[in-house]
Each structure stands twice: as structure tokens, then as C-alpha cells.
Amino acid sequence: MAQTVPSEAHGHDAHHHVETFWSKYVFSTDHKMIAKQYMFTGLAMGAIGAFFAYVFRMQLAFPGMSVPGYGMVGPNEYNMLVTNHGTIMIFWVAMPVLIAAFGNFLIPLMLGCDDMVFPRINRLSYQIFLLSAIVLICGFFVEGGGFGGAWTSYPPLSANAKYNLTPLGQSFWLVAVALEFVAFLLGGINFITTTMNSRAPGMKMTDIPMVIWMIVIASILFMVSVGPLIAGAVMLFMDQQVGTHFYDPTTGGDPILWQHLFWFFGHPEVYVVLLPAMGITADVMATFARKKLFAYRTVLYTAIGTGVLSFTVWAHHQFIAGIDPRMAHVFTITTLLISIPIAEMCFVYIATLWGGSITLTTPMLWALAFVAEFLIGGVTGIFLGASGADIYFHDTYFVLAHFHYTFFPIAIIGTYAGITYWFPKMFGRMMNDTLGKIHFWGTIIPFNLIFIPLFILGAAGQHRRIYDYSLFPELATPELQAVRVFATVSLLVMLAFQAVFIFNFVTSLRRGKKAGENPWKANTLEWSAASPPPHGNWPEGLPSVYRGPYEYAHPDREEDYWPQHLPN
């Protein structure tokens, strides 16, 4: 980003921006820099989460042996590793990368703005987010170690150090999560307000690219669902540190209250991360099929409907927790119903591709993989949504494989699709497509080889959150142990291939082919700005919009794309 030049189109006071290292990289209020801060923080936390997965999978494959690069894994360490793997991947990887990074980068650019409406609150939300990550990591090093009560943090285990054995870690974890919530509430308000109020002249609501809609709907879902959990977290903190008994059944409290407070948020949360990934997939597919997104309005209403429905399914996580069985009937029906709009979205993707002129670039491969892998996740969710089947499957590896077949496409495939697609705009250079494809196959194939075995283990009755299955004779058979080893080895292969991505990313930053404004010949507004866009995005004047975002292969036009900002 070059030094800015004062311009009337800027809206800023006509003063010269003198940028120091600190004002440009650390304390920037520019949405693009904040986006990159979120992205790199999220990816770094992803490396930590992946490392934890490596360690606990090594323990499961070779129980009792010292894990190279870590050491011995006892039961408490194991619990801490699985707890924080989940917590980190959801709150410090999926959300910051998919929502905060892509949202921050794309919303002003795709809407034709010079920045978010509240740049300083934007900066503050990143700072709070960074603080939350620091607090979480500090919690690993305090006396007693990091919290190990699962990412769901159920009391009484999570409420009392005499059970969870992590008197400080329990609260570091909780405070970190609470700070992350505050950061995303602030960020979400910025996103929603910018999208509602600051669109380019001429941009109707149906001219907004689908990825922006999805990020905004996700932000609204997050905001509405997180409230009760914040209340619950305050109560849990009180139980942990002040000695109250909100969740203590011995004194009239109720642990199931926490479960409801948590999952009332927890279920919409998965759609909070799903919708942006679906939005990225939609935009990538339209560009590389050279075809309009099929049934834009239907997708939009479906996304909104899914969001609303997502508030009615939460207790399917609690089927065998002792909830009222009549409520289980209700939640089974709603859960099975919510599969319909999601399936419909998958049909929309297929319809978008049908008859399109498809180019299998790296981003397109990721987008296609998203749909294929998520389908498996969605279908296996049906088994779990039926409360009868869930009696068997709950708390087994079947659940774990199901949610990795949904979360991995969301957090990992969606991220890679977005990064490989928008890297040219963010950094002004192209990534190497061959390395991208090697990385793609080296991730997708092992991914399936990790988690299909886990379905098998789950169906065989292997329950979750156990650090050593040799303690259970029926699960310690040589066949099942061989499956565990196979899954772990596949993980090692998959992790090794991530080095290809890192290499590609770092070398492309310096030596990638210069990208130009619109290397993919796409329509949306961000591709009409320079690559990377300067401070203020369009110093020559903000664009207006004349058509929808997906006018590809339009009959009235010679070229197969028709950017939104061109008058004709």
C-alpha cells in the first residue's frame, strides 16, 4: 500500500498520511490490513490447533509412547489437547479467517466503499481478538495447565477446580472465549452496518455478492445466539472463581441450564461458520463456471431461512443428556427439517455448474471439494439428528467424523478456496497453480483417509475423549487399533502437504506473477480496484453499480463477463 495522496474523493481531511511501520502494520485502521491481521493470526492459531491434533492422534495410535516434538501424553494433557484443538479451530481459526478476514477485506471492496463505517472500532475488535488469543495461550502455561473440560465446557466439571484440576486454566479459557465473543460482536456490528448503509450508488440488495450476504447473515446469527451464552459464561465464571452454585445440582442449580445456554449458541454457531464458506464457494463457482449463480434469490431466502431454523434445533446435542423426551421429539423433527435447505443449496451449486464453461483452477477445485465433502457431513448428520439412532451414536467417533466432514470443508477447504481466489487481489501476485493443485490433492485425499476410518470406529462403539483405548478390551482389538494407526498416518501425510501451501504462499508473495486488476475476469467490484488496492480503495473515485454480480456469458455482450461497475 503506497503513501496516500490527498483527494476530494477521499472524504478524509486533506492531510498527508505519513505512515510508519506501526501505523501501517500494527495500528492500522485500514480494513485490508485488519483483514490480513485476522487472517495471519487465524492461520497461526490453526497451526497450533493442528499441532494439538498431531499430538493426540499420535497418542491414540501409539498409546503410552512419547510423542516426537511433545513428550508423554497423560490423561490430563490429552483432555487439554482435545479441548483446545476444538476451541481453537472454531473460535480462533474458522471465525477469524472466514468471517473477520474475508469479511473485512471484501465487504468494503465488494460494496464500493473506501473502508468500513467504523474503522477505529474495527481496529479495536482486532485488538480484543488478539488479546483473547494471548489469554488463551497463557492459560496453557499457568499452574495446573490449560483447561481440559472439552470445548463444550459442561459443568459441574468446568465449574469447579476440584473436578477439572485446572483452577487457573479454567478461567483463562473462559475469559479468552468471552473476549473473542466481544471482538466478534463489535466486528459484526461494523459488517452489518456497512452492508446495510454504505452500498455503492445503484447497488440494489440483489446486486450484493452472495459471499457478503452470507457473512452478514452469519454476523446477525452470531449476535443473536451468543447473548444467552455470554450470560451463561458470566454465571460459569462466578461458579469457578466466586463460589456461586448456578450449575451445582447439590444446591438447587442445574447443569442442564448450561447445556441449553451453550447449545442455543452452539448450533447457530455452526451455521455462522458454514454460511461464509458457502458464500465463498458460490462466488468462486460463478467465476470459474463462467455462469450466473443459480437462483440467487432462492439461495438468499434459503440462507435466511436456515439461519432462523438453526435456532430451533439445538437440543439435538443433548438427546441423551436427560432432557425431556417430548422435547427430543420436537428437536428431531426440526433437525431433520434443516437438512432440506442445506441440500437445496447443494443443488443450487450443481445447477450453477451445469452447462457452465468450467476451468479447474485451484480455487475451483477447493470449491468443488467443499460441496462433495460437506455432502458427506450433511448426510451423516441425519443419523445423528434422529434421536433414536443418536442414543447409540452420541459421544462416539461417529459424531466426531460427522462434524469433521462438516467443519473441515467449512474451516479448511473454505479458507483455502478463499485464499487461493483472493490472494491476487490481496497481494498483487498470482499463486502458483501447480503447487496449488499438489497441495489440494495432498490435503483432500488424506483428509478422507483420516475420517472415514473414524466413522468405522464410531460405529464400532468407540466413545470420545478417551486418551487410551487399550483400557477397553472390546475396543483394543488389533483391527481397530490398525484403523487408528491408519488414521494417524493419514494425518501426518496431510500435515506434511500443508508445507506446500506455506511454500507457495511465501514464494508467491515475492516472486509470484504480477496479478493485474482482474486476473480471473470476474464481475464483482473488488476486481475493479488495483491489486492490492491502495488506502481508500479507489482514489480516483468510488464506483457505482449497474448490474448484478454474476452477469457471466450474457447474450448482449461479447466478453463472457460483465463487471458491475461498467456503465455499459
Binding site: 463505517v117 454504505s198 449476535m223 447473548g227 463460589g243 452454585h245 441450564l257
Partner: protein
């Protein structure tokens, strides 16, 4: 302070950006307090014995504090009216009155709690009192935060700067008042 992006000045939703954002803040706060109070109500309805505990709250102090907050809402909206008439110093004076109301509320509450703790009604005495202190405490934190932000807005208004913010902090303040309008009967009256 006034280097704002062009984006902030647009209003395709039909209202100024700041006001739109404050309403979204209110929305997020409704669900936070809603979750907490909903949890309290569930427990309260389930435990008839809690009315014995609730009998020990001081309805006179609660009523006085409600009156203070209602009056501070009046001065907040009068500040808004003054700001709309472009009279920054007058708006600032009304805002200072509102802040005084907020400070009074918090100080009275501090004495109230001191008295209750002295009588053994601590946060850990039983779950009714845990909810009492947590809910009223969370509310009081919002009062304090509101007073601080209001102070900043008032300082700017005094110099006839950023007058639109007078309305915005007012909307937040009225919401804090509304929460107390429900907290008051829930904690003090229902005995």
C-alpha cells in the same frame, strides 16, 4: 476525530450510520440480558422458597433507584432535543445531569449491597442471591460504561461537536433504563 470514510456518510438503509449501529448494539444486549433473566425466571418459578429470600431485598431503595433512572432518561431525551436544536452546551448540561443520575444509582446500589452483605446476604448465600448480584451487577456495569461514554459525548457536545452522538448515547441509556424496569419487579417486588 472527523476523518471518517465516505462509507460512514452513506445511508442506503434510510438512517444515519451511527444510529443504525446503536440499534444493533441494543439488539445484542437484549439477548444477553434476555438469557440471564430467562435463566433467573426459570429458577425463580421453580423455587417457591426464593420468595423468602427475595423478601430481604429493600423495595424502598429499589424504588428510589428506579425513580433515579427514569428521571435520568428524561434528562437524556431532553439532551437529545437540545442537540437537535443545535444547542450543544445545553445538551451537554442535560447529559451531565443524566450522568449524575447514573452515578447516584451506582452509589446507592453500593450502599445497598454493603448493607445486604453485612446481613449475610452474600453472592454465595444461595442461588437467589447469586442471580441478584450477577444480574444487578451486570446491569450496573452497563450503567457505568454508559456514564463514561456519555461523559465523552458531553465534552464534545459542549463545543458543539458531534451533536448526533447525543441521541445515540441516549438510546443506549434508555435501554439500560428499560432493563432496570424489568429487573426491579423481578428482584424486588415479586415476593
Amino acid at each position: 476525530m472527523s476523518a471518517r470514510p465516505i462509507a460512514t456518510t452513506r445511508s442506503t438503509a434510510g438512517m444515519p450510520t451511527g444510529r443504525l449501529a446503536v440499534w444493533w448494539v441494543i439488539a445484542s444486549e437484549i439477548v444477553i440480558f434476555g438469557g440471564l433473566l430467562g435463566s433467573y425466571i426459570m429458577h425463580r418459578l421453580n423455587h417457591d422458597a426464593w420468595s423468602n429470600h427475595a423478601a430481604n431485598t429493600n423495595v424502598y431503595i429499589g424504588t428510589f433507584n428506579t425513580l433515579v433512572l427514569l428521571t435520568s432518561s428524561l434528562s437524556a431525551v431532553l439532551a437529545h432535543k437540545a442537540a437537535d436544536a443545535q444547542d450543544g452546551p445545553k445538551a451537554a448540561r442535560f447529559l451531565f445531569l443524566t450522568m449524575l443520575g447514573g452515578a447516584t444509582f451506582v452509589v446507592v446500589k453500593a450502599f445497598e449491597w454493603r448493607m445486604e452483605i453485612h446481613h449475610g446476604f452474600t453472592i454465595t448465600a444461595n442461588t437467589f442471591w447469586s442471580f441478584y448480584y450477577t444480574a444487578a451487577g451486570l446491569h450496573a456495569l452497563h450503567v457505568i460504561a454508559g456514564v463514561i461514554i456519555m461523559g465523552i459525548v458531553a465534552q464534545q457536545a459542549k463545543k458543539n461537536l458531534e451533536l448526533h452522538r447525543v441521541e445515540l448515547i441516549g438510546v443506549y441509556w434508555h435501554f439500560v433504563d428499560v432493563v432496570w424496569i424489568f429487573l426491579f419487579p423481578l428482584l424486588y417486588i415479586a415476593k
